[in-house]
């Protein structure tokens, strides 16, 4: 099975948004002085990272990319 062009478009769009959301949540977590909000932001960053990985994994399983490897 392959991805449609439309699916690839949405995959890229969402990966871009998630990447930005991770960066912003991390920045907000360090900027905030409220410990409760710091927690909210770092939890959000973690969840956005999970979403990012989930999308990548799905692409990999639908249209396998042999040489692909995640690095963090």
């Amino acid at each position: 099975m392959q991805l449609t062009e439309m699916e690839l478009f949405h995959v890229e769009e969402q990966l871009r948004s998630e990447a930005l959301a991770i960066a912003k949540s991390l920045a907000f977590a360090s900027q905030s002085t409220d410990p409760r909000l710091q927690q909210v932001y770092s939890r959000a960053a973690e969840r956005h990272r999970t979403h990012y990985e989930t999308i990548l994994k799905n692409v990999q399983s639908i249209a396998p990319q042999g040489q692909f490897q995640t690095q963090y």
């Binding site: 699916e7 949405h10 969402q14 932001y41 969840r47 999308i55």
Partner: protein, 146 residues
């Protein structure tokens, strides 16, 4: 640098944007596995959004105005009646259809005594669905069912 309130507002806007993206993505996914993934993430994005919304609300930075109790009552009764009307209209339309089918089956020819072709001559026009079935089932002696 943004202040605390601006950061929360920015996060809320970001969440709305991301959730909208997943909604579109789920609607246009052809692969069931991908669609499922988009829907699951969509749900989680809404949960993040709700958390942020809640943080704003407890700080008094997001206070949705409560609807007027009378407006709610009026709206509820209006839309309850609307549903009943849609329902009864549907029932009427259904009854009409059934009625038409019944008159079709009981062809007026039988009731008014107009002679029916078919059984006597053997070559008549099919009058009822049942007749068509009988004709289809009929096989001439030249082509017997083995």
């Amino acid at each position: 640098m943004l202040d605390e309130r601006e950061r929360l507002q920015d996060s809320l806007v970001t969440q709305k944007h991301i959730a909208h993206g997943y909604n579109c993505a789920a609607g246009e996914a052809a692969n069931p596995q991908l669609m499922d993934a988009f829907m699951n993430i969509l749900r989680d994005e809404h949960q993040i959004q709700y958390e942020i919304f809640n943080e704003m609300r407890v700080r008094g930075w997001y206070q949705p105005k409560e609807a007027n109790m009378n407006d709610i009552r009026q709206s509820f009764s209006k839309w309850s009646q609307e549903l009943q009307q849609v329902h009864s209209n549907t029932m009427r339309a259904g009854a009409k259809q059934v009625g038409a089918q019944q008159t079709g089956i009981q062809s007026p020819g039988y009731q008014t005594g107009i002679p029916q072709y078919g059984f006597q001559t053997g070559v008549g026009m099919p009058q009822q669905p049942g007749d068509i079935q009988q004709q289809n089932m009929y096989r001439s002696p030249q082509n017997p069912v083995i």
